[in-house]
Structure formats: structure tokens, C-alpha cells
Symmetry: C2
Subunit: 247 residues, 2 copies
């Protein structure tokens, strides 16, 4: 079995990097081969733009969807996108390791979604959701935040973490993944107001706890119940839930 870790953090000694290493070790212990897309270290370009398409479907007007589909069909996808797709095709489990910045993933990771999950090649109008390309595979977000857990509850000031992660979870489901409940490391912020890093004395015990929690969650990656989303059997021909079906 194979695990891909998509890692998004600019600092090599960050909590996120530590958790990435914990995830790799945990999955190795289960016998997995590990691959890592280290987006900052590999200087991934997160901006979907005309410059990535050498052979255009339409030289006049740029449509990302049309160019992705054309490049998928003609085997002219950008090299970095081809590499990421190759990694995904190998992966039984994909772990996304990132901090919450501005109520969402950092731009670097958002752009990985914008560019790598290509129209045509990896999804079409009918090949989505529970008919998605990666159905039968699993994905999980391992996320750090900069405020206490209580503030990420539904009545919390930082915003309900389920609302914050809903868009990325739905994107993964759109691609067919069974999406596991996220692993959350809250309050990763030092007393100087920066994000904590691994060697920060006051955080060493806390980091150890987060590492143990992540390893424990990953040990159950095959048996955990995925998040529940509606599927093709639940929607009518207009793309809305059939009467009596609840989301």
C-alpha cells in the first residue's frame, strides 16, 4: 500500500513538518511506501494561468477548464501537474498536512487543487462525487490552528472548524475520495504571537501529544467511518436532493 502526504508549510522546523514526519512514520509502521509532495520545498506554482499550457485548445481566450481538458487529452499537461497526478494514482491514502490561514488552506495548497485536479483527465460531469476518479481511496486532513479548540466549536469565535474545512472536504469527495474526519492540532501559536515551532520549549509536550493523536488516528485509516455526503442516487436530474433524502 502507498501513502502520499501533501505537505504545505514554509518552515522546515514547523509543527506541520513534525506532524508530516509523524504521519510518514506511522504509515511506514503499517507497511506503506511513503511519498511526499512538499509544496513549499518543491516551489510548486499554485497559480492556474495560461503560461502552463504550451499547446492551447483556444489561443484567443483562456478557460482553465477547457485547457485542462485539452492538455489531458493531448498529453500536454504541465510537468509538475503530471508528477502530482502520478503520485495520486499510486496513493491508497492521501494525507493533507497544513495550517489554517485566513479560515482556509494556504494559497499554496489551494492552488494545488486548482491545477492538479484537472478537468477531463481526472473528472468529467459524470465522473465526480461517489463516481469520482479516486473512489475506493481515502483522504484525511491533518490541520494546525492558531487558537484554542473551544474557539473552533460551532459557538466559537474562530469559526466552526467543520465550516472552515467543508470546502476542502467537499473538493476531495468531488474527486471520489472517502474523506476521513480531520485530525486537529489546535492552539499552535507561541506566546509571542508567532506560530510555534518544534523546539519551542513550552510546546514540546503539546507537540508530543499531537503526534501521538495523529499516529493513533492514522492507525485506523482503513476502518474509520468516512464523512457522509449525498451521492448520485440522492440527487435528481437537476442536481438537487430527491424528496425525502436528507443531506
Amino acid at each position: 500500500m502507498n501513502t502520499l502526504i501533501v505537505h504545505c508549510h514554509p518552515e522546515a522546523r514547523s509543527f506541520n513538518a513534525a506532524l508530516r514526519d509523524t504521519a510518514a512514520q506511522a504509515m511506514r509502521t503499517l507497511g506503506h511506501e511513503i511519498d511526499v509532495s512538499d509544496l513549499y520545498a518543491e516551489a510548486f506554482d499554485p497559480v492556474e494561468a495560461p503560461r502552463h499550457y504550451r499547446c492551447r485548445a483556444n489561443d484567443d481566450v483562456f478557460s482553465a477548464l477547457a485547457e485542462q481538458r485539452h492538455a489531458s487529452a493531448h498529453d500536454t499537461l504541465p510537468e509538475d501537474v503530471r508528477r502530482e497526478i502520478g503520485r495520486l494514482e499510486q496513493a491508497d491514502l492521501v494525507i493533507f498536512q497544513f495550517p489554517i490561514w485566513w479560515h482556509a488552506a494556504p494559497a499554496m495548497l489551494k492552488g494545488w487543487f486548482d491545477r492538479v485536479f484537472v478537468n477531463g483527465g481526472l473528472y468529467t460531469g459524470s465522473r465526480r462525487y461517489d463516481h469520482g476518479h479516486f473512489r475506493g481511496r481515502r483522504a484525511i486532513c491533518s490541520v494546525t490552528t492558531g487558537a484554542p479548540a473551544a474557539t473552533f466549536a460551532p459557538d466559537g469565535r474562530s469559526g466552526d472548524i467543520d465550516l472552515l474545512l467543508w470546502p476542502i472536504h467537499y473538493s476531495l469527495y468531488y474527486m471520489g475520495y472517502d474523506v476521513l474526519k480531520p485530525v486537529l492540532a489546535h492552539g499552535v501559536q507561541d506566546t509571542r504571537g508567532g506560530y510555534a515551532y518544534q523546539a519551542d520549549a513550552p510546546f514540546i509536550a503539546e507537540l508530543a501529544t499531537h503526534r501521538e493523536n495523529l499516529a493513533r488516528r492514522l492507525a485506523n485509516w482503513q476502518t474509520d467511518t468516512p464523512l457522509r455526503f449525498p451521492g448520485w442516487d440522492d440527487w435528481d436530474e437537476h442536481g438537487v436532493l430527491k424528496p425525502g433524502v436528507t443531506g
Copy 2:
């Protein structure tokens, strides 16, 4: 009065570009001066990273928050960030014009949030939400999607548009803005599966309708009731809603 339009689309002849121009015209009619941050045209760099900070708070370990705060205090913020902050300081109304890509804003716009809303300079622990830097000013998202409106209802396959926009709306509220209900242009996708552009014959009438709708909404920018969020009076000292207060 002044309006800033933060525009995020790679194609100059896109629906988004047309709606940007409509917004500018509508606000000019109301007597506003218009400024536009055209993120793709200006090649904005959306990746928050060490390379933007010449004089580091910590040369050893990179924390985005710590470096933003340090650079704010020492007037060493990156030039493009200073320019964007200058534009925001002038703006009574900020209009965000963008397409939904992967259930959220494109990476280019997400990174504008990551880099421009700097810790220290534009917010602190106590200067947030209804005590935020831009309180008294207004913001609105004008958004295009690639599927019919019905699929963005709470029971729709594309995902509840209120859930998709919740993170960006909450980020704007975090900065103190009164956030207006978004203006939505659904189904902006041509029959070939690319996004429609302005000269697409089947879409000319539809684009005209979207332009009229946007202009009508912007005419009421000062009187429209903003989205409702809890504020400092509603939270206890742990950052959760006080008993009896509903979010």
C-alpha cells in the same frame, strides 16, 4: 467616496472581467473614485514565504505572523503588500470579483488574504471582528460559478453557496468589514465545458442580466443590511458565545 475592486481572473475577456467593468461603472455613477487590484494582470505573488521579508524578526525559523508583525512595526513590509494596504485604506467599499474554483476563491485571491491582511499592522488579538481595522467600511463578493443556481442551494449537488463563501466572508468580518450579501452569477460555463466568455453568443443575454443585477445591488451598497456575525459583546473570555446568545 472610494471603491476598490479586487479582481481575480486570468482572462481579460471573461465574464468576471465584464462584471468588474460593470461594478466600476456602477460605482462611478454614484460618484466614487475607482481603484482596481487586478491580481493576474499585476502578477501578484500569492505565496506567503520567507523571500518577502528582507529584515527578519527571526532569521532562524520562519513564522508568517511574527514576520508580518515585525515588518509592520519596522516599515519593511513587501512593496506589493504596502500598495494593497494603501488601496484598502482609501476604500469605503471593497468589491471582490472572482470565480469559484474548487469550492473556494482561486489561489491567487486566497494568497492576497494570506499576505495583505498583515498581523500587527492590520489586526491584533483585540483589534478584530467588530473591533477590526476596517470597521465602518463595507465589502461584497461578486462571484461566478460553473453550474446552475439550484445546485448551489442547501440541497444542491454543487454545495450550498453560503457554506462555500462562509470562510471568505468570515475573513472580511475578521478585518472589521460589514460584509454584504454576495452577488451571484451562476452557470457561467459554456456548452463545451469551458467557462463562458463575454463574446460567447449564447451567453450575451445572460451576461447582460448578470450585469444589471450587479449594478442594481451596488446601487444599494450603503443601505443593504450586512450579514450578521457575533461580536465581542457576544463572546465570553474563552471566545465562545455567552449563554443565551445565538450565533
